[in-house]
């Protein structure tokens, strides 16, 4: 490779945990600094973002009109655009406001709500521009991040699993919390990558890594409902860090509609 590829990191509404994961890759940080040019900051004195960049990593969700405009400019500047973390890929925990009246939120917290300029929603980056690759997680897994950077340097597709948390639970000999404890767990519909931390602590999965490939939420939630979980609890379970991911969103909306009509979710046939 002739010139070092130019890497840029952009942040929207988020907690910074995902971009800090890059700093957390201590052993690899020096090598990364050597292999790529962290371009966004090095050309930082210019008025506009001086692109183009080979790779743009985007953290955070889109919550203001200005953000929506800015992400379009960033897309134009980046050859390969990767969203990192739950906020960027699905809208994040703050997308819970998408189901509420945002003005009520604001007036409860702030004495002068007229100063708040925010969109009514917190939306994923992919709702605004085309995204080339999504790195999931709340926060992302640093090994997956290193794999991503390595794959991009080698010009190949990153190898990131799309199967469910259940596979990793079995691999790690973690006893199934849904079967053994009878709790409603999102593991069967959530993408692996977290290292099954919560089930290993005997807790249900909250879906930090978002929906796995082709999840069947209607079936799973119907199963939990059959076993006695109420609709309110199941809605809350699916509306979490990745609650606005399309598959999770549809499931929780369907549950709410069904509950409003007085129906219980369908049992799997």
């Amino acid at each position: 490779m002739a010139a070092k590829p130019k890497l840029a990191v952009f942040k929207f509404a988020s907690c910074d945990g995902c971009q800090l994961s890059l700093l957390d890759a201590e052993d690899e940080l020096l090598a990364v600094a050597d292999a790529v040019e962290i371009a966004y900051f090095l050309e930082a004195r210019t008025r506009t973002l001086e692109g183009p960049y080979d790779v743009g990593l985007v953290e955070g969700s889109i919550t203001t009109a200005h953000d929506a405009e800015r992400i379009r400019r960033i897309r134009d500047q980046c050859q390969f655009l990767v969203t990192i973390g739950a906020c960027a890929t699905s809208g994040g925990i703050q997308s819970l406001r998408n189901w509420a009246d945002v003005n009520e939120f604001i007036s409860q917290v702030y004495a002068h709500p007229e100063y708040i300029k925010t969109l009514a929603t917190s939306t994923p980056v992919a709702d605004h521009v085309i995204v080339d690759f999504e790195l999931r997680g709340c926060p992302i897994n640093k090994h997956q991040l290193v794999e991503l950077v390595a794959a991009l340097l080698q010009g190949r597709k990153p190898r990131v699993p799309r199967y469910s948390v259940c596979i990793d639970c079995k691999r790690k000999h973690v006893v199934c919390v849904a079967v053994a404890q009878g709790v409603a767990c999102l593991g069967p519909v959530t993408q692996a990558g977290c290292g099954v931390i919560c089930p290993a602590y005997h807790r249900e999965c909250f879906g930090c890594f978002g929906p796995k490939e082709q999840p069947n939420l209607a079936s799973l939630l119907g199963h939990y409902a059959n076993r006695g979980a109420d609709a309110v609890q199941l809605v809350r379970l699916t509306r979490n860090f990745n609650g606005y991911a399309p598959e999770f969103r549809e499931a929780s909306d369907d549950l709410e509609t069904a509950a409003a009509l007085g129906n219980t979710p369908d049992a799997p046939s």
Partner: protein, 474 residues
Amino acid sequence: MAQTITINPVTRIEGHAKITLHLDDQGKVADAMFHITQFRGFEKFVEGRPLREMPSIMARICGICPVSHLVASAKACDELLAVEIPAVAAKLRRVMNLAQLVQSHALSFFHLSSPDLMLGMDADPKERNIFGLIAKHPEFARDGILLRKFGQQIIERLGGKRIHPAWVVPGGVNEPLAEQTRNEILSEIPGALAIARRTLEWFKSIAPKFEEEIESFANFPTMHLGLVGPRGELEHYDGAMRFCNEDGEKIVDLTEHRRYDEFIGEFVEPWTYLKFPFFKKRGYPDGVYRVGPLSRLIVADRCGTPLADHELTDFRLRLGRAPMSSFYSHWARLIECIYGCEKLVQLLEAPDILDEYVQSRASVNRLEGVGVSEAPRGTLLHHYRIDRNGQMRWLNLIIATGHNNLAMNRGIKQAAERFIRAEKIEEGALNRVEAVIRAFDPCLSCSTHAWGQMQLLMQLRGPQGELLHELRRD
């Protein structure tokens, strides 16, 4: 001719925070306002969610100090359950909290602030970042990376991951400490301690060179707030909230945290989303106080560990009991890193540290609870109200950046008065104003600065709003 300068820093997102400076007719800085413009809405969207989810959700407020939110949240939940957590669980929470303190201080000092100290405030911004440091001073940068790794690895070993770990829960912690993990951590402490000690020696040797910064980095008297232990020692997990006056003399030790609102008022200014806490007895804005590493060293009578106490004595001999300039926060952070290493040894060598009973269980016994701990950046308070089913009804959070809000605004004004000359804005001036914010190390600026520098927009405008001069860094 009155003018307005706007500095639009922010987390790489224009729209999270900005600074406006108002110039008077003589071109002098008349007022400074630090606006927080981000809004995520945690206070509202947790309504109706069960108590047990709170620590995990609250950790998502911040990717830099998630453990601090975990701990404060879990402590508020302990109150709602009205349980006494097992002694070993308190020790293990302390271990994680100290690991967080060390890693966060390392990030703040090495990754964010040391490029200014090592390469100079006026150095080319292209190099004035952690990567420039790696290129120019690889050994020093490696020390910083390793010290942060030391803390982050402890968090990962205990909680499964470094950011947003799930291990601290209402009533205690999830899993006991394994003997092997204990031994691994203990074996790494000497290396971390050596880094902290040699970095402090280096800092002491270069600090006098920054005379101008010392004089202008929020260098004015304020009260201070921080937790202290039963014998007045430095404390980060539990203990009395101690308010001290400008000279470091105790005003009050508040042991019942739920009475915090008798002492702390929260003032709202129309131009920012961040409230202004103040000490009620002195009123607003005279009740300005600060929190953070420097404040903790001022309010504490002693550290309580040998090497840190030795350094604290030296610190006080050189600077007095209550040094005013926030520039000295860097110094305080390094002393706290030494303290953290020493305290970790004490905790991990305690005979009961491997006890297996680590979580008290109870259902809801109170409808209101307050949890207080020291985050790396200062006192953190979580206040929850729930219903009888254990579902959240209301919450109030006072974060370190909030406590410091009044002082930070004054500090920005002071630096601007000194470094901003009307009509023209220099890059170095911009960096110095930014560096004041960095010395307070608000979560915001620390996050914004994670990759080198904040986005800044500083505008100088005439009375009709015409643009006279603009300096911008994206």
